[in-house]
């Protein structure tokens, strides 16, 4: 089972019926010159990359921007149509007065599989006690959290909120809560490793590529910024394959990771096993 743990379905045509919604999404996400694509096209690309399932991430920006990049209900709509291809996460704006009710509905009624939060875009620090009831709700339902971490390309999304140092308090106080700090928290790769070495409930993903080619970037991160065996020795169960589609094409990123000299066992973890553990499947 190959899982892409980081996909934003903003151009899935199932949820692209309204031009004004699409414009809002594109502006808030900071992506341009792309158009909606069909399920057949999405599946063709997943098949070509030999990717079985993708985790779909919404983002609730109610108090910051007056809307959502993708809503929980839109995620539910996609999942209901294609349950074998996609795994749906929820999102909630922590500043909403009804944040806990939104989250309760997402887990209890919409049956979504985890929570997406973006401290940079939603403008909160992950160690702000405002978040504690939300973390508690995730723990209650045994749902993982996919946090944005590190550089965010989205407009009005400051990196200061997403420095790994701000996640440590939550990792300490919620040791049963599985949390992914996405994008290897790039450029804070060392800080990301610092958290992972101490907190086994902290995961990351590979969705980073802000310079150079897929091969060059993956080579530099995993073979130069780390020693060639660093991931193999220390983080074999905490790094998930994630693409950040539609910013980066999944099959190209996957191929670059396949080219790295990791053992087959570690590659199997990266490309699926770790995502299953993060999702809590097989517990």
């Amino acid at each position: 089972m190959i899982i892409d743990a980081h996909v934003h379905p903003i151009y899935f045509d199932t949820i692209c019926g309204d031009d004004s919604v699409l414009k809002f999404r594109s502006e808030q996400f900071g992506i341009y010159k792309q158009s909606p694509y069909s399920y057949e096209e999405i599946i063709a690309e997943m098949n070509f990359g030999k990717i079985d399932r993708s985790i779909l991430l919404p983002l609730d920006l109610t108090t910051q921007s007056g809307g959502s990049i993708v809503t929980n209900e839109e995620i539910k709509k996609i999942i209901d149509r294609h349950p074998d291809s996609f795994i749906g996460f929820a999102s909630v704006d922590p500043y909403r007065k009804d944040a806990l009710e939104v989250l309760e509905n997402a887990f209890a009624n919409l049956k979504l599989s985890g929570l997406k939060l973006n401290p940079s875009k939603q403008q909160f620090y992950p160690d702000d006690k405002l978040l504690w009831p939300i973390y508690e709700k995730c723990r209650e339902y045994d749902k993982p959290i996919m946090f944005h971490a590190g550089l965010s390309w989205e407009p009005n999304a400051l990196a200061k909120y997403a420095n790994p140092i701000h996640y440590e308090q939550a990792a300490v106080e919620f040791p049963e809560l599985r949390m992914c700090l996405a994008h290897f928290a790039w450029p804070w790769v060392r800080e990301m490793m610092m958290l992972m070495i101490k907190y086994p409930n902290v995961y990351t993903d590979t969705s980073m590529l802000y310079m150079d080619s897929f091969n060059d970037f993956m080579e530099r991160i995993f073979m130069k910024e780390m020693d060639p065996l660093t991931l193999e020795r220390n983080f074999a169960k905490q790094v998930m394959f994630g693409s950040n589609t539609p910013r980066f094409r999944a099959f190209k990123l996957k191929k670059a990771i396949e080219n790295l000299p990791f053992s087959e066992k570690v590659k199997a973890n990266i490309f699926g096993g770790n995502a299953l553990a993060f999702l809590g499947e097989g517990k």
């Binding site: 996400f29 900071g30 992506i31 341009y32 010159k33 792309q34 694509y37 069909s38 057949e40 096209e41 063709a44 690309e45 098949n47 070509f48 390309w153 590529l209 802000y210 310079m211 150079d212 080619s213 897929f214 091969n215 060059d216 539609p246 910013r247 980066f248 094409r249 099959f251 190209k252």
Partner: protein, 142 residues
């Protein structure tokens, strides 16, 4: 008289030859144009339009030669994040293969039929797939 029709093709591979000859024949036959010219033009910068013989061995040689001329793993300056897209395309090989192939072809129309040799087939060549692509069929004549 001019008539423009567009067709959509979905590729399933990164680089793939898609034979669109029959579709162009049908569009020309239904156009109402008796004598003139038809141009087949891709709407993209990472696809090509080329004419060749529809033999599997020929198609294989074309694809292998393209890969040899423009290897995927070479060093390209276009391999970087594009702020104007908010995305990284890393698709220089697609642009360069497209440049080698050209973006269009033309055939005469005579007695409501596209005139071409029996070995001449029209290919849309995907160079950065899988994707859905658009091809224009522009017919001019009387």
């Amino acid at each position: 008289m001019n008539k423009l029709v567009s067709i959509s093709c979905m590729s399933e591979q990164a680089v793939q030859m898609i034979n669109i000859t029959e579709e162009v024949h049908r569009i020309v036959a239904e156009s109402g144009i008796t004598n003139g010219l038809v141009a087949v033009i891709t709407a993209h910068t990472t696809t090509g339009i080329t004419i060749n013989e529809p033999l599997e061995c020929v198609e294989t040689d074309i694809l292998q030669r393209l890969e040899k001329l423009v290897p995927d793993d070479d060093k390209y300056i276009h391999a970087h994040f594009l702020p104007s897209y908010g995305a990284t395309s890393n698709n220089s090989p697609g642009h360069l293969k497209s440049m080698l192939l050209g973006n269009s072809c033309m055939f005469p129309i005579q007695e409501s039929r596209m005139v071409c040799g029996s070995a001449q087939h029209i290919y849309l060549v995907e160079c950065d797939g899988p994707q859905t692509r658009k091809v224009y069929i522009q017919m001019m004549g009387e």
